[in-house]
Amino acid sequence: MVVHKRIEVHHVTRVEGHGNIVVEMADGQLKDCRFEVVEAPRFFEAMLRGRSYLEASHITSRICGICSTGHAITSLQATEKALAVQLSQQTILLRKLALYGEILDSHILHVYMLVAPDFLGVGSVIPLVSTHREVVLRALRMKKLAGDICAAITGRHTHPIAMTVGGFTHFPKICELEQLYGRLESARSDTDATVELFASLSWPQFERETEYVSLTHPDEYAFVGGDIVTSDGVYLPVEDYLRVTNEYIVPYSTAKYTRDKRDSYMVGALARFNNNYDQLTPRAKDAAVALGLAPKVTNPYSNSAAQVVEIVHSMDESIRTIDKLLERGISLEEPAQISIDQAEGVGACEVPRGLLIHHYWIGPDGCLTGANCVIPTNQNIANIEADMHELVPHISHKPLDSIQLDLEMLVRAYDPCISCSVHVLKVTDAHEDR
């Protein structure tokens, strides 16, 4: 008698956007295994065509509320590279600080609100209010601080308003930076408690090595800019990203997929951790020890643990960056001079979920003639499926709801932002039109 098991999870909870898990087994053999992204397609790339280079970052920052600063900075980089715009040291420091704020905001939300409930045996953060009230209050307190960092630098809690091509139009006050500095120093006990909590949890044991792809930079753990590096030995300038991403489409999903040396690769905190571990702050490395992480980590569930390490790192680096800004003072400088010309440029940042690329083509009138955006979650979908393929036979003996939980936790570990990832063009391939 053939024993069939089928698991279908419609709209996996505690991920941003809509994705389905479909797994079918017969007699322990995997027949079907998919992570379907079913978000209504968005056409951000098409939306940018014909718009002025000055508008691009404001439009793309609205792709997603969680990743808006990352999209804005990457967008600005693409335009600035295209138009050969020189940035001041102050601009670079302010953008780094804004991105640290977003990394913190996103990671804190993810580990506390989306991941922790699974480990603590509840369906959402709500039951934790009764059983772990201080933990929930801590998460909100930390999240608020992170959001306030972004707001102070970018001018708004959600979509940035103070950043423009070549610099900033509004600047934080010294007293605001000083206050943030004080709050960040006080928040060290909260990050210590975060490490302690997540180090005490029983992490699922599952190993599957893949190619880990991220930015890298000689001077620091790369977030704002760098070159592309992979754990399979690839090292490229970001302008050559297509040699790594190789985007393709599958019929059951509205998101594009990517692959490089293997059938899939991984981006995100774990990839950054594996590739750039040496550049973590000492406290972040201590956190890694507490969490049992040392490169190369090949357990995808550990992506969330790597995010905890990055929370510590980003707190440290936020403090260090504010220190530098306070030492220099804030100059109310005009954005850099820009000469408009027909050009092409690629921007790349490490945003909370991984490597983000914006590639723009600008016409002689300064309006975009085309755009290609490679989103972190796109790059992870094939790897999620490959993990599922590998994992399911090992857990097929378990009760159905247990298998389902393991798979949902796997998807959540990647912290997918499905809303960002769905932007495939409906009609023709955009590249052909250029």
Binding site: A40, P41, R42, F43, F44, M47, I59, R62, I63, G65, S68, L109, M113, V125, I126, V129, S130, R133, V136, L137, L140, K143, K144, G147, D148, A151, A152, G155, R156, H157, T158, H159, I161, A162, H170, P172, K173, E176, Q179
Partner: protein, 161 residues
């Protein structure tokens, strides 16, 4: 500008939604229009997008909050409805209203559980015509949004009398 985050605002007007998704961005547009008006002291109009659980951090410490969002209520496009504090608490308790991406119920439920839900919290839902990709509001929403904004402007000033 949110840069003055340190200042306490007892009254908040929160606009939800994504302005790249047609009428889904009407809450954002409403807040933009309100920001250009003279609001009462200690009152801020803020674009919050889709904050999910993070909504609770906005609500903490406020005495009066107005939320504005596109809501599918089965009404003709452009029609809006006001939900008072009791009805909002019901949303938090039962999650019985279909709001976009379930961001508002999550945040309200968490705020309720933590006992930080503002004393007075009002929700204005406006029926969208279309939430497909696009930066323009539909004609139906464009026609009625100014009236909604006016109504909210009156409410926020009457609260402070």
């Amino acid at each position: 500008m949110d840069s003055n985050f340190a200042a306490s605002a007892n009254n908040l007007i929160l606009g939800f939604g994504n302005p790249l998704q047609g009428d889904d961005g009407l809450g954002i547009q409403a807040v933009k229009m309100l920001s250009e008006r003279d609001l009462p002291p200690y009152t801020r109009a803020v674009e919050v997008g889709a904050p999910g659980w993070g909504l609770a951090t906005w609500l903490e410490g406020c005495s009066f909050v107005i939320m504005i969002d596109a809501v599918r209520m089965g009404k003709p496009p452009g029609v809006w409805q006001r939900f008072d504090s009791e009805e909002v608490r019901l949303i938090a308790a039962k999650n019985n209203l279909s709001l976009h991406e379930a961001s508002i119920p999550e945040g309200l439920i968490l705020a309720q559980a933590l006992n930080i839900l503002p004393e007075k919290i009002v929700f204005y839902g406006l029926e969208p015509a279309s939430i497909t990709t696009g930066q323009e509001l539909s004609p139906a929403v464009q026609a009625t949004l100014p009236d909604l904004v006016e109504e909210i402007f009156r409410e926020i000033w009457n609260r402070n009398k």
